[in-house]
């Protein structure tokens, strides 16, 4: 799934805002941003952090400067384990055409020594959005691992996977409806793209998305039907 194909697929589906959220990593973001030049797709840098509790959380930023600052903090808290491609797959860093640059040696499939609440504070300190990922999933999901949404959480939104509808999520997950909900394809393969979140923004920035999540100042978060339903 190389950068030009990611951008091409997003454009084809009419998706104009995507975030790159690799696992504990952001080395491939700049390549996707470069590949997006001249396209209709805006790319937000980010990562999918794995917290100490093995909960996955999306961390979205406005700029590479901000996401790099966050990456530095995360790197300091990752265990010093080496990747073993035979067991965990390759961890490639590529350029904007998808050509190999280097291998990431450090095992990214691990937990950062960062509790969830502290991770949220850190993301906010770097000017980003903190969104627990696929909270409905058994593996690495907030609900599966913590049992419930912690009280006084400052999450900007919650993400549900494509396995559940938004109304089901609001109904089945206690406390979920207190937060803005987004649904993502968790795109590991080009066919995973969903494009069901509709954000009304003045420009594609974190500040604007924050307003949209709160449905304030004319910015809004709405949802389109999932592709299967649309053709049903």
């Amino acid at each position: 799934m190389i950068p030009p194909l990611i951008i091409g697929q997003a454009e084809r589906l009419g998706i104009d805002l995507i975030a790159i959220t690799d696992h504990n990593a952001s080395a491939n973001v700049s390549a996707v941003i470069a590949a997006a030049h001249g396209s209709t797709v805006h790319v937000l840098p980010g990562m999918e952090l794995q917290t100490q509790e093995e909960v996955h959380m999306l961390c979205l930023f406005d700029s590479l400067v901000a996401s790099s600052a966050f990456q530095v903090e995360v790197d300091q808290r990752l265990p010093d384990l080496r990747n073993n491609p035979e067991y965990f797959g390759e961890q490639f860093v590529v350029d904007d055409t998808g050509d190999f640059i280097r291998r990431e040696e450090r095992l990214l499939l691990s937990s950062a020594n960062l509790p969830l609440e502290e991770a949220v504070q850190l993301v906010h300190a770097c000017g980003g959005l903190a969104i627990p990922a696929h909270i409905d999933r058994r593996a690495y999901g907030l609900i599966a691992n913590l049992g419930l949404i912690p009280t006084n959480s400052e999450f900007d939104a919650l993400e549900i996977s494509s396995q559940l509808s938004l109304s089901q999520a609001a109904e089945l997950i206690p406390g979920a409806s207190r937060f803005p909900l987004i649904q993502s394809g968790d795109v590991h393969y080009l066919a995973d793209f969903l494009g069901t979140n509709l954000l009304t923004l003045a420009e594609p920035t974190i500040a604007e998305i924050r307003l949209a999540f709160k449905q304030e100042a004319g910015r809004a978060l709405n949802h389109l039907p999932a592709p299967e339903q649309a053709t049903g």
Partner: protein, 114 residues
């Protein structure tokens, strides 16, 4: 102690195509549902007790050369995970009991942390 003994005493159900379990020695046990802890603490040749049944469980078990993963509370891996386990030679054994019960039974058999 060998794996067949454990399967017999604990009434475990092998769900991978594992054979000749009597030839597999078991020298320790580790119980955790957090893979990061397992990667730090589990020893090769031991059994791993968990209710996690996703793909990364197979990768970690394979990497650490775990003799078998005991999936508790009837945790069911999906077909892709089972295929990967068979491909990698990772033995998965199922039990309806809780991790606590399985740990207690292994302890009674004389198995220890290391």
């Amino acid at each position: 102690m060998d794996l067949q003994q454990i399967v017999d005493e604990l009434h475990l159900k092998p769900i991978t195509d594992s054979k000749a379990l009597e030839n597999i020695p078991v020298t320790s046990a580790y119980a955790s549902d957090l893979l990061s802890c397992v990667m730090a603490g589990a020893k090769s040749g031991g059994v791993w007790i968990t209710l996690q049944a996703h793909m990364n469980v197979v990768a970690v078990a394979s990497l650490l050369d775990i003799s078998a993963v005991i999936l508790t509370e009837n945790a069911r891996p999906d077909p892709a995970v089972l295929d990967k386990a068979n491909e990698q030679g990772v033995r998965l054994l199922s039990s309806p009991h809780t991790s606590f019960t399985i740990c207690g039974q292994l302890w009674s058999l004389g198995l220890r942390a290391s």
